[in-house]
Every structure is written in structure tokens, then in C-alpha cells.
């Protein structure tokens, strides 16, 4: 269809099973979030506002906190690497591995690594990388990309997964029982953990004060990946800092509840450097790669609030557009409202190509309502729409608004148009290209045009 926005086109063509997996899964997560927060707290919104203020404070002092984090991490015995660009980040990881002649590693889920396509880069350089989060493992087997921040395979059903396992030799036979799928992955992956020489993780938070890197998982995969490995590399975006350990109480309470309705994610790990000598299992070396990759551009923009994001996916889950279109429609690792704001500015050189994302919203505001750090997502979407317009990036189906503005600021003409437009004939049709309006009317009836009737009635009432 002409004039159709890419995300609408994607939603139109999406496989029905996939769409229903996505919408069912995200609606269930939305319900769990609501009951967890509202049964545990009298006023969860106060907690969200507190979290947002701590994040704003941190972002406004990010230079100081980054330096503080660096020295705390070093004090803990970590090697600290700064990576300004995606290239820098990939190089940093690769050279750590090369210097130690490491060729086999496992990786726990990390959005930062998705951003820079780290796996592809390492594999291209003859390093065996195995994703260990169950969902990411399946994504890797399928050569797919995750469609959700927390539940990467929300778009897949058990039958597809069972077929993948059979095809890839993870199992000899077809079994689509979720428990059997999980057991098979357990057996396969623990063998790989034990063989791996290094583990790559993300990081949910870093406390600048203590240099603790905080990692949360439900499956225990990062823990298992770390226990037998010599080297731990944590790839972390520079916006993940919090000032103090104490602040973590606010974010940990919100993260699990917002993501999956859990009071805490099962495994919440506080890592301050390589293992102690007395501990037999765990990395002897820890590297923290602090990655920028566009974050300072976001910080410089009028959408800097998006850097408060703690990647809980609550906005994705509640978003009616995401539910119809799935994460893949957003063409970046971040789907849903957070992706619609973040991607076009984080990947700034792709802005023209991604400028349609902020349009993919009815601006309903549900995302802001569920956001644990109270990001005003609809406002940011609107600012990006303004930016696209100012930069003259054309959008499919855009209605020319200048004629509308002229009409709406010419009251006499407006009144005439109202009364003269009975039956819609003279409705500022130049407002809309004909085709979208026809599409609109194909789905809906319009009420009868009664332009000017109220004004007439009111005049009469006032004169009576």
C-alpha cells in the first residue's frame, strides 16, 4: 500500500502466530508488572520518580561519576577500557582475547553487545562465541535477532524451537515440551561453560562509589559462565552508572518488578574484580569495557532522558504498537517505545533511515506510565518528530500541515469551511492525500458532517 509507514507495513505482513506470541507474551508481562508493583508498594509512582531523579543527577554529573567509577574499578583490580565508538569496543574485546590467546567463550545476554554486533565480529576473527541465555542461545542457533529486551524469543513458539534443536543436533528427536527444551539446553550449555576460557557479560549497573558491577539474570547463566572461566569481560554502556551502592536499592526493586513482575531477578550478582585467591572458581582477570557508542550524542540531544533507561522492557510490553508489530519492526536491538526514541539518536548517522520510528506511536502514554525511571517517552517521540520535520526528512503518508495551520488561524474562513463542508466535500481535503483518507474510510464510517450547527444553536440560545 502506498503511503504506509514501514512499521505499519511490517505489522500488516507479520505472521499471525508470531504476532499472537508477541502480543500475548507482552500483555502477560504487563499484568505481572502491575500486580507486583501495586501489591508491594502503596505508591509505586513515588519510587519511579525517585529513580528518575537519581538517574538525572547521575547523567548531569556523568563525567565525574565516570572518573570515579574508573578509579573504583581499578582499586578493585579490574582492567578498565574506554571505548568511544563501536569499533573501539569491538577492538577492545578482541585484543583482550587475542593477547591471552583465548578462542572459546560464552556470553550472557547483553544489549550493548547486540548494539555493536560483537558476536559477528568475534566469530569472523575465529573466536567461538556461545550465547548462554536460553533465548539468546536459540536466537544464535537460528541466525535470528532478538525481538525483545528481556525475552529475546518472545516471537517464537515451542514448535519452532523444538525444530531448531532437532535441526542443530542439540537433541536427536523432536520434543516441544518447554521443560524438555530447557533440560536439553542445560545439558548442552554446561558442557560449553566448562570448556570456555572467557566469559563476556553486560552490566546492569555500576556503582561509581564501590566499583561493583551488578549483573542480574534469572537463569544463572552469567554465574555459570564466570565460574570456570579465566577471564571476565563486562561490556557496559557509560550510562549504566549509579552514584552509590545505596542507590542500587531503588533500581533493583524496580528492575525485576518492571521487567517480569519479580521482586528481584533470581540472581543479582555484585562483582568487584577477579576472584579471591581462596575461591577455586571464578575469573582471575576482570575487564570492564566502558562503551560510549553514541551515548554522548544522546546526552547532547533534547532527548537525554532516554539515557535513564534500565532496559526493563516494560514500555515494550505495554506498547500497543509493539504488540502488533513485534520488535523486529524497529530494525535495531531496541524495540518498542525505548527503541523508537533511542535508536534514531544513538545510531545518529542512521537518523534519516530510522526517523520513521518515532512516528510509530499513537502517543498513548502507556509507556511513560510504566517506565521505572519515568522517561517521558511520548514527549521524546514528539521532539524527534519535530527534528525529522526540521531536517526535512520526508515520511510516508505525512499530511501537509501548513494549509491546515492557515485554515485554523483564519477564523472567518474556518467558519465558512465548517458550514460549507456538509458531506465532507470541502473538508480541507488538501490536508490529506486521497489514498490514506480512502483507507481510513474503508475501515470506518464517519459521522454525519454537521459543521457550524453548534454555533448556530448557540447564537439562537443566546438571543432567546
Amino acid at each position: 500500500m502506498v503511503n504506509r509507514q514501514p512499521i505499519d507495513a511490517y505489522a500488516h505482513d507479520i505472521d499471525e502466530e508470531k504476532q499472537s506470541s508477541v502480543s500475548g507474551g507482552s500483555a502477560a508481562s504487563t499484568d505481572k508488572r502491575y500486580s507486583a508493583l501495586f501489591s508491594d508498594y502503596e505508591d509505586p509512582n513515588a519510587l519511579r520518580r525517585l529513580a528518575s531523579r537519581i538517574k538525572d543527577h547521575t547523567l548531569h554529573h556523568l563525567d565525574d561519576y565516570l572518573e570515579q567509577a574508573e578509579s573504583s574499578l581499578k582499586r578493585n583490580g579490574c582492567h578498565v577500557h574506554f571505548a568511544d565508538t563501536d569499533d573501539d569496543a569491538r577492538d577492545a574485546v578482541l585484543s583482550i582475547l587475542r593477547e591471552r590467546e583465548i578462542t572459546r567463550l560464552t556470553k550472557s545476554k547483553s544489549m550493548a553487545s547486540e548494539e555493536i554486533h560483537l558476536n559477528d565480529h568475534l566469530i569472523k576473527n575465529d573466536i567461538e562465541v556461545l550465547e548462554s541465555d536460553l533465548g539468546e542461545f536459540i536466537i544464535q542457533l537460528d541466525g535470528d535477532v532478538p525481538s525483545h529486551i528481556v525475552r529475546p524469543i518472545i516471537h517464537k513458539n515451542r514448535r519452532e524451537i523444538a525444530r531448531t534443536f532437532q535441526r542443530e543436533g542439540i537433541a536427536d528427536d523432536y520434543n516441544d515440551d518447554p521443560e524438555a527444551i530447557t533440560r536439553r539446553a542445560r545439558v548442552h550449555l554446561r558442557e560449553k561453560y566448562m570448556e570456555a576460557e572467557a566469559v563476556i557479560t553486560g552490566g546492569n549497573f555500576i556503582s561509581a562509589e564501590s566499583g561493583r558491577v551488578v549483573l542480574v539474570t534469572n537463569e544463572g547463566n552469567s554465574r555459570f559462565g564466570m565460574a570456570p572461566s579465566r577471564v571476565h569481560i563486562a561490556l557496559v554502556g557509560i550510562e549504566k552508572l549509579v552514584p552509590t551502592d545505596r542507590d542500587l536499592a531503588v533500581f533493583l526493586n524496580l528492575l525485576g518488578r518492571s521487567a517480569t513482575g519479580q521482586q528481584l531477578t533470581v540472581y543479582t550478582e555484585f562483582i568487584s574484580g577477579p576472584k579471591d585467591d581462596s575461591q577455586p572458581s571464578g575469573p582471575e582477570e576482570m575487564h570492564v569495557v566502558l562503551m560510549n557508542n553514541g551515548r554522548t550524542d544522546v546526552l547532547a540531544s533534547n532527548c537525554r532522558e532516554i539515557l535513564r533507561c534500565i532496559r526493563c522492557s516494560a514500555c515494550q510490553n505495554v506498547c500497543p504498537v509493539y504488540r502488533q508489530a513485534s520488535g523486529h519492526a524497529y530494525r535495531s536491538p531496541y524495540g518498542g517505545p525505548v527503541g523508537a526514541v533511542l535508536s534514531p539518536i544513538l545510531f545518529g548517522d542512521r537518523f534519516p533511515e530510522l526517523a520513521d520510528l518515532p512516528k510509530a506511536s499513537s502517543l498513548c502514554g502507556a509507556c511513560n506510565e510504566v517506565c521505572p525511571v519515568d522517561i517521558p517517552l511520548p514527549d521524546l517521540l514528539l521532539r524527534l518528530r519535530d527534528k525529522a520535520k526540521r531536517e526535512h526528512i520526508p515520511q510516508p503518508g505525512d499530511l501537509p500541515m501548513a494549509p491546515f495551520a492557515t485554515l485554523a488561524t483564519s477564523p472567518a474562513i474556518w467558519r465558512t469551511a465548517m458550514t460549507m463542508s456538509k458531506a465532507m466535500n470541502h473538508l480541507p481535503i488538501e490536508m490529506a492525500p486521497v489514498r490514506p483518507l480512502q483507507d481510513w474510510l474503508g475501515q470506518r464510517t464517519l459521522p454525519e458532517w454537521r459543521g457550524g450547527d453548534f454555533r448556530k444553536w448557540l447564537k439562537k440560545r443566546q438571543s432567546d
Binding site: D8, V321, Q324, L363, G365, M401, S421, G442, R444
Partner: protein, 251 residues
């Protein structure tokens, strides 16, 4: 969405009827005048009013929408409360305008933001009307669609609680009430598939409760929903909340 702080109330107001009522829903604007007058409120109607400018604002054409907003602010200049029978247009005044004028503050626009009320919010929280002496002839199930622009404002609670005090009225809950109906103004034009699906889902949830009447504080949502329902062969009786207030009084 932050509601405005101390807004003026009082028995003399200006009505912004909205372009939708101007074009299609004259009876909603009439009901607004009738109900406010019934409550002893003097209602002024500036003739030069047009639209709040939201279509251009949401499209990202802020140059155009600021032009419309300035016009509206001029038309409604003064210190009287401005009453809008639409949560969406009201929010444009006190939220959208603030966003688009962030970098070029405008005193008249800010003044309008500080004086704007969504209609039922004004009746309940501005005038202090907590009970409505209306009556349905027989038990009536009302499905109240809380439009998205009422999020974070006092209007949703105001409408639900006021409707609930009408004799024989029952406000029935329905599934996924926090979800948008899919209208979103120009969104419904540029995202026809998603908008239509969202509307159909909303209708599914509402109709599952077999309401006698679908009620909202925003005619734009109702136009979209009932227009879809009509084409889908499942028409649903509907009214703006203020029509319910007026009609139950007459009954």
C-alpha cells in the same frame, strides 16, 4: 502528564468546543453548554476559535502547530477558566503547548495552559460536584473508555466517580483498559493496519462486557471506535460523558 497546578475555577468560563464538535458532534458542545448552565455557570464562546493545533503538533510540524496555538491563546486571552469537552485537546493546551514552546516561551500560551480544564475535571474538581442527580430509567451498564490523554490527570477518576453516582448506572470494568483505542489522530491515517487492530481489540474487550452504552470524555476515540464497530457490523451505542449527564437529568 502533569496536570496544571492552581487553575482558576468559578462560575464564569470560556468554552473551547473543539474542531470535532464544530464539525461533527454539535450535540456534545450543546450538552456542555446545557450542563454548565444548569450548574449556574456563565459560558462564553469566543467566535474566532478553531482548533488546538494537535494534528500538526503530532505530525512534528511544530512551526504550523505553534502558529495555531498562538491563535488559540489569543482567542482565549484573559483570566477566565477555559473548558474543553475533550481530554485530548485540553492536554494539548496544558502539556503539548508547553513542550513545543519550551525553546520559545509565549506568555499567552502559558496563560492558556494554566487556565485549561477538561470539562468533567472542571465539574468535579473545579466546581466540587461529587454527585450527579441524574437517573437512567432502567439499570444501565456503562463502559467508560478512559482516553489516553486523561492519564495522569484528574479526569479519569472524576468521570468514573461522577457517572457512578447516577441512579441505575453501573460503570463496568473491562480488560486491558489501560490500552489505547488506536486513534491517535494522524496515526490512524499513517498506521491504518495497527490503528485498526488496536481499535478492534478495544472493541473486543468492551463488547465482552455487553455494555448498554460506551462513554468517553473524548469524541475522537469514540468516532474511531464506533466507526470501526459500524463497519464491522457490531455497532455500539455511545455518548460523551457530558451527554450522559444532561440526558439522565432530563429523564
Amino acid at each position: 502528564m502533569p496536570a496544571t497546578t492552581q487553575r482558576p475555577a468559578g462560575k464564569k468560563v470560556l468554552l473551547m468546543a473543539t474542531c470535532l464538535c464544530d464539525a461533527f458532534y454539535d450535540d456534545v458542545a450543546r450538552a456542555t453548554v446545557e450542563v454548565l448552565q444548569h450548574l449556574g455557570v456563565e459560558v462564553g464562546f469566543p467566535e474566532n476559535q478553531t482548533c488546538c493545533g494537535q494534528p500538526a503538533f503530532n505530525s512534528g510540524d511544530w512551526k504550523s502547530s505553534r502558529k495555531v496555538a498562538r491563535h488559540t491563546a489569543e482567542v482565549f486571552a484573559g483570566d477566565l477558566p477555559v473548558i474543553v469537552p475533550s481530554g485530548s485537546c485540553a492536554a494539548m493546551h496544558f502539556h503539548g503547548n508547553r513542550l513545543q514552546f519550551e525553546e520559545c516561551p509565549d506568555g499567552a500560551v502559558e496563560s492558556l495552559a494554566n487556565r485549561t480544564w477538561e470539562l468533567i475535571d472542571f465539574i468535579v474538581n473545579g466546581l466540587g460536584i461529587r454527585e450527579w442527580p441524574g437517573r437512567f430509567e432502567k439499570p444501565t451498564r456503562l463502559a467508560f473508555h478512559r482516553s489516553c490523554h486523561l492519564r495522569g490527570t484528574g479526569s479519569g477518576e472524576a468521570i468514573t466517580s461522577l457517572l457512578s453516582t447516577i441512579a441505575n448506572a453501573e460503570v463496568v470494568p473491562f480488560g486491558q483498559a489501560e490500552q489505547c483505542c488506536g486513534f491517535g489522530g494522524t496515526f490512524s491515517v499513517t498506521f491504518p493496519h495497527i490503528s485498526g487492530r488496536m481499535g478492534s481489540l478495544k472493541l473486543d474487550h468492551i463488547l465482552e462486557q455487553h455494555p448498554d452504552l460506551l462513554v468517553s470524555g473524548d469524541m475522537s476515540c469514540l468516532m474511531h471506535l464506533t466507526g470501526l464497530a459500524q463497519v464491522q457490523g457490531r455497532p455500539v451505542p455511545h455518548k460523551h460523558a457530558v451527554q450522559v449527564l444532561r440526558d439522565t437529568l432530563q429523564a
